[in-house]
């Protein structure tokens, strides 16, 4: 037998197919990957160190910058962590608004994913459509919070301000529009033979190992395991709205994960409609915090988690009884997906499929190294 020659290929950090600023070192035989190694650290800012120097309110302004495509679960986690340690109550309306913001964030994140996933399969039209339509959701955010990408809206004790007049009807209008557009995306993306052939059977995660390997979010649901923090451990009012968690797509490949997301974006639209119905019209949205310079939290710790568009987002918040956080440790879903899992499932795949697999796992470097 002829001995195969192994070549080393560095994919990234400057590479159009990589989801952000990271590098995958591949060892290939011909076109097949025999070994993969993820190199991260290109986006490390030392958030956890910076938060030790800031007080509890100042830290709130930088947590949203930890994950760029979907900042709101960070704010939610931080706020709930602080509230759990302090025992602070949140007004009812504020909790509904938080849910609304989280679901809008999920939708905009999935729309960005549509562009990335189809772009990595060579279908650039969908990216033009979905990223263009994402601007309508960002417009809503801009009206509500003042920022397109970073909102700094969900803070300890509630949310920063009430809904503007007529905001609910504008949300409903955007949802109606998006629902119509999603059918268009289906026809171009999911009915497309190119996309089907490129994704089916690619990037297989063995379902029996998935939980043990630390897989969360859409990749875990794509393996046929019903797991969603919104159901497992309902936060805010997720136990009062009805939605389905998909477990019928169980082929555990890129295709199944794409179908899971396609299903969930419709569920999110559905949830938002229920939120708009059930949200009370009046009421306070913020439980006032004391003077932030003198705001001390009791000594204690809390582990809180939120379901983001890429999976379970966990925060471990520790307070030592002073004005500053002692430690805030962030556990992003991509931390496992992008390193150990990616290194495992890339073996045996083709070089051209690396970008596809990375997009389907939701690899997001800024939250891996923080």
């Amino acid at each position: 037998m002829r001995k195969e020659k192994t070549t080393t290929i560095y994919l990234g950090p400057q590479h159009p197919g990589i989801t952000g600023n990271m590098m995958v070192k591949l060892e290939v035989q011909g076109d097949t990957i025999v070994k993969a190694e993820t190199h991260i650290g290109y986006l490390h800012r030392g958030f956890e160190k910076l938060m030790e120097r800031r007080n509890w309110l100042q830290s709130f302004t930088i947590v949203c910058r930890i994950c760029v495509p979907e900042p709101d679960p960070n704010e939610e986690n931080y706020a709930r962590g602080v509230e759990e340690i302090e025992g602070r109550e949140v007004p009812e309306k504020a909790r509904w608004i938080r849910m609304l913001v989280l679901e809008l964030a999920r939708i905009q994140s999935y729309l960005l994913w549509y562009g990335g996933q189809s772009g990595s399969a060579g279908l650039y039209t969908i990216g033009q459509w979905s990223v263009g339509d994402r601007n309508y959701v960002l417009d809503l955010f801009e009206e509500l919070t003042g920022g397109r990408v970073y909102h700094m809206y969900i803070w300890p004790g509630g949310v920063r301000r009430d809904l503007p007049k007529g905001f609910k009807s504008r949300v409903a209008k955007v949802m109606d529009y998006l629902e119509k557009r999603l059918d268009d995306y289906d026809r171009v993306m999911f009915d497309n033979a190119v996309f089907q052939k490129r994704t089916q059977g690619v990037g297989y995660i063995p379902p029996e190992k998935a939980i043990e390997w630390g897989v969360v979010g859409p990749p875990l649901r794509g393996a046929g395991i019903k797991s969603d923090v919104r159901i497992d451990e309902p936060y805010e009012f997720y136990d009062q709205v009805e939605f389905e968690v998909p477990d019928m797509y169980n082929t555990s490949d890129v295709w199944a994960r794409a179908l899971v997301r396609r299903f969930e974006i419709r569920q999110s639209i559905n949830i938002i409609r229920q939120i708009l119905d059930k949200m009370p019209d009046n009421g306070p949205v913020w439980n006032k915090i004391p003077n932030p310079h003198k705001w001390k939290l009791p000594r204690g710790d809390a582990y809180v988690k939120t379901e983001s568009a890429r999976g379970e987002f966990g925060y471990y918040v520790v307070s030592d009884g002073s004005e500053h956080p002692r430690r805030i440790h962030v556990r992003g879903p991509a931390y496992v997906h992008g390193i150990t899992l990616l290194e495992k499932i890339l073996v045996g795949q083709n070089i051209a499929d690396v970008a596809l697999i990375m997009n389907s796992l939701g690899t997001c470097p800024p939250e891996m190294e923080r």
Binding site: P16, N21, L112, R148
Partner: protein, 184 residues
Amino acid sequence: MNYVLNDRESSKIVEFIKNFARKNSLWVLAYGTGCGAIEIPPTMTSRYDAERFSVRGAATPRQADVLLITGYLSVKTLKRVIRSYEQMQDPKYVIGFGSCTINGGMYWDSYNTIKQLDLYLPVDVYINGCMPRPEAVLAGFAKLQELIGKGEANGWKHYKENLEWYRQNQQKLIKNWKMPDYNW
């Protein structure tokens, strides 16, 4: 031919045509160095459509004209960015994008991000904001085009002339300097 080019008036015309061509085909290196990269897809796609202003992405450094530094640069990335910048062909331009490139921004006390981009690379245009809206990005590109048209976007010449100074700054941060020499 020689005669025509030595004529002062004609060389002005040649320069004008060159600049006109350069400013109307800006290929941006697709390197999302920081979190600002999230506003690049909206800028490039249907609503803001940067392509109508003759701006679009290029996959490799050797075919790109503009290096967009989208936000904070960690020291580890700075090394790769310098390498990418030196691979690009003349003329080349650098846009600093976001507050963090100007003065550290949010991360002013972080141990791992640089505070002032123009110590390490010649910046032609800064766009401020955290993060800048797509309109601001387009305005930044328009400003760059204006500078190129006037022949004032000469950061790359400046880098060549003051390579010593830039190298000194770069090597102060990057401890393990194992890079090939700048290949003109």
